[in-house]
């Protein structure tokens, strides 16, 4: 904190104060005109270029470093615990990653379009899990799904669209009530509101569903082993989970690239004024973004229920933060990037856990988040697009 100690005569007395009545007051502080020697920096001044060089180097090769570390972690696990466990963990990582991927897409879409970290998104995930559970018990889908393959398909066909629509409406409603009026407010305001919405939803779920785990029964919907490689048993559930995530992810990517609404979303994200001038109804576009993002969260929640079979009022919060990390990792605003980020974070979470102990997984994720934001805020696949300020 050593600072340049001011110009030689920065003493208050020498400022010409008090002489102003005499008419000789100066606009320019004469003491300031004297030459100022020495680099104005402190001890760290000399290190500046080195630090910048290092930082630049890490930023450039960040992706490689991260992927290298992950490969190392996977390899180490294999060496330490054997190939079977490694394979098992890879499977777990992909399943978990699939869920993160779907949730991350919601974050990335919303952040991309209105630059808001939608803290409530993780809770929309939980809420839509409960929606799905509600629909399943309302239509007695459990017996249907476990009865026969046709029944399973029917159950999925009913429960997926219904929950996704319900979640989508929830998301769009949140935007309409809580965020729309604050769109031009300083950034702190919608951020605080988002936290508020998150807490409100969690609070409602806590009151309605109680503080304990809720069994959703969906874990029994899809059973059986599909195949096994090297002693790793891969169940149909695993295939379903990963497949579903990939399909939704790429379908959405194509949707945003090709359709009219998708283009409206992208243009609104890039320049809201210009989008308006092109005749795009940005309110509707933003609502649609929230709808789609939340619907995907619902898909993730169903997948989660099928895979783990339980829900709890506050699971969405942590899962949400991890998914947000995935979105940042993939480059915020980039849908496919968020998907890939989700899978990567899944790997980091699982293998970090198996190397350092499960209790450290979360801390590790946050460490990764800090590293990305410090060294590569545009994400792994982002390209620096600086515009003139």
């Amino acid at each position: 904190m050593s600072e340049y100690k001011g110009p030689p005569a920065a003493d208050p007395g020498a400022l010409g104060v008090g002489t102003s009545r005499g008419g000789s007051a100066m606009l320019v502080a004469q003491s300031g005109l004297a030459p100022r020697h020495g680099r104005a920096g402190g001890i760290l001044g000399g290190l500046g270029p080195l630090v910048r060089l290092l930082q630049g180097w890490i930023s450039t090769y960040f992706s490689l470093l991260l992927l290298g570390m992950m490969a190392l972690a996977i390899g180490l696990t294999g060496v330490q615990h054997g190939v079977t466990l490694m394979g098992e963990q890879i499977k777990n990582a992909l399943v978990l990653g699939a869920i993160y991927a779907l949730v991350a897409i919601g974050y990335t879409m919303v952040y991309g379009i209105i630059e808001l970290i939608n803290f409530a998104h993780g809770d929309v995930f939980t809420a839509s899990g409960f929606y799905a559970f509600g629909f399943a018990s309302l239509f007695h889908l459990d017996s249907l799904a476990t009865g026969s393959f046709g029944g399973l398909i029917l159950a999925l066909v009913i429960v997926f669209p219904l929950s996704m629509i319900a979640a989508g409406v929830t998301g769009a409603l949140i935007e309409f009530v809580a965020y729309r009026r604050l769109r031009d407010a300083p950034r702190l305001a919608p951020l605080i509101t988002a936290i508020g919405v998150s807490f409100l939803i969690e609070g409602i779920m806590l009151v309605v569903e109680g503080p304990d785990n809720v069994t959703t029964h969906m874990a029994s919907w899809i059973n059986g082993e599909a195949f096994s490689i090297a002693g790793v048993s891969v169940g149909y559930t695993d295939l379903f989970v990963i497949g579903m995530a990939l399909v939704l992810m790429f379908a959405l990517g194509a949707f945003v690239r090709r359709t009219r609404l998708g283009k409206a979303m992208r243009s609104t994200a890039q320049d809201r004024t210009a989008a308006l001038l092109c005749g795009i109804n940005i309110n509707r576009t933003i609502s649609a973004t929230f709808f789609i993002g939340s619907a995907l969260a619902a898909a993730a929640a169903i997948i989660y229920s099928i895979n783990y079979g339980v829900l709890k009022w506050n699971i969405g919060f942590h899962l949400g933060i991890i998914a947000f990390t995935a979105a940042v990792l993939g480059g915020i605003g980039n849908i496919v990037g968020a998907g890939v980020g989700g899978f990567l974070i899944g790997i980091i979470y699982v293998f970090g856990g198996s190397l350092f102990g499960g209790e450290w997984s979360e801390a590790l994720i946050f460490a990764v988040l800090v590293l990305i934001l410090t060294f590569r805020p545009v994400g792994l696949f982002g390209v620096e697009v600086t515009t003139r300020a």
Partner: protein, 253 residues
């Protein structure tokens, strides 16, 4: 909040339908700062009208008010004989107002082609869009070459072409151009103004903001001079060019 008491609800017949843009005593505020006061301005069918004035005089604000990005606190904006009160910018754009805004404001991470397509966002006629795209490419052959390049990576002049092209893609009845020559090389400036005349010759009405007052007035039929938020002078372009005040203030020194 209602200013209906002093409304200027003149019947449409008074101005005639050929008034494409009709601003009646508009007052615009940014917060507490008065950006425009009692600006009255009209643009008739088929005209090129230039809006000149120094930086900060309110030229851009005027255009933004016309296209609905800002709403006036008092006064009325009438487009094609209808009031735009209560309309959003998107609706106004669909009325047939093309606006190439200040600073171009392209979608930097979309290709040139996609940017142009966005201009035609609210149109349904595929055939019309295709012809318009063709004519934009004819106006700016350079854009055809850069078709699939990201707009953010273009040079300034090319970006300006995309901005004008995008505004044209909505097949507007009136085109608002905010400093089309900004940051362009002299040759390009001449070329752009040539294009502007060409567009006008095809029947599009144009309202133009330009730093280079002389060039603007030479292109335009009429001109308005804004000074600190209000209209200081207006009249036929030749008269303005000849006016000694204008010459001193805007045409040199």
């Amino acid at each position: 909040m209602s200013e209906n008491g002093q409304s200027v609800a003149a019947p449409d017949s008074a101005g005639g339908v050929d008034k494409v843009i009709d601003l009646r005593e508009i007052d615009v505020y940014y917060g507490r700062v008065n950006a425009l006061s009692k600006v009255t301005l009209e643009v008739r069918q088929g005209e090129i009208v230039a809006l000149i004035g120094s930086n900060g005089a309110g030229k851009t604000t005027t255009l933004r008010t016309i296209s609905g990005l800002i709403s006036p606190r008092t006064g009325e904006v009438r487009l094609f004989g209808k009031t735009t009160r209560g309309m959003g910018a998107a609706q106004i754009a669909r009325l047939g107002v093309g606006h190439a805004p200040e600073g171009r404001r392209l979608f930097p991470r979309m290709t040139v082609r996609e940017n142009l397509d966005m201009g035609a966002y609210s149109r349904g006629d595929r055939a019309g869009i295709r012809t318009d795209l063709e004519s934009v490419y004819t106006l700016f052959p350079r854009l055809r070459e850069r078709d699939s390049q990201l707009a953010g990576s273009l040079s300034g002049g090319e970006q300006q072409m995309v901005a004008i092209g995008r505004a044209l893609m909505s097949s507007p009845k009136v085109l608002l151009l905010d400093e089309p020559s900004l940051g362009l090389a002299p040759i390009l400036v001449d070329a752009i103004f040539e294009v502007i005349r060409e567009i006008n010759a095809k029947g599009t009405t144009i309202l133009l903001i330009e730093q280079n007052a002389l060039l603007a007035l030479k292109t335009a039929v009429r001109g308005y001079v804004l000074e600190t938020g209000s209209v200081a002078l207006s009249g036929p372009a030749e008269e303005l060019i000849a006016s000694p005040d204008i010459q001193r203030a805007y045409l040199g020194m």
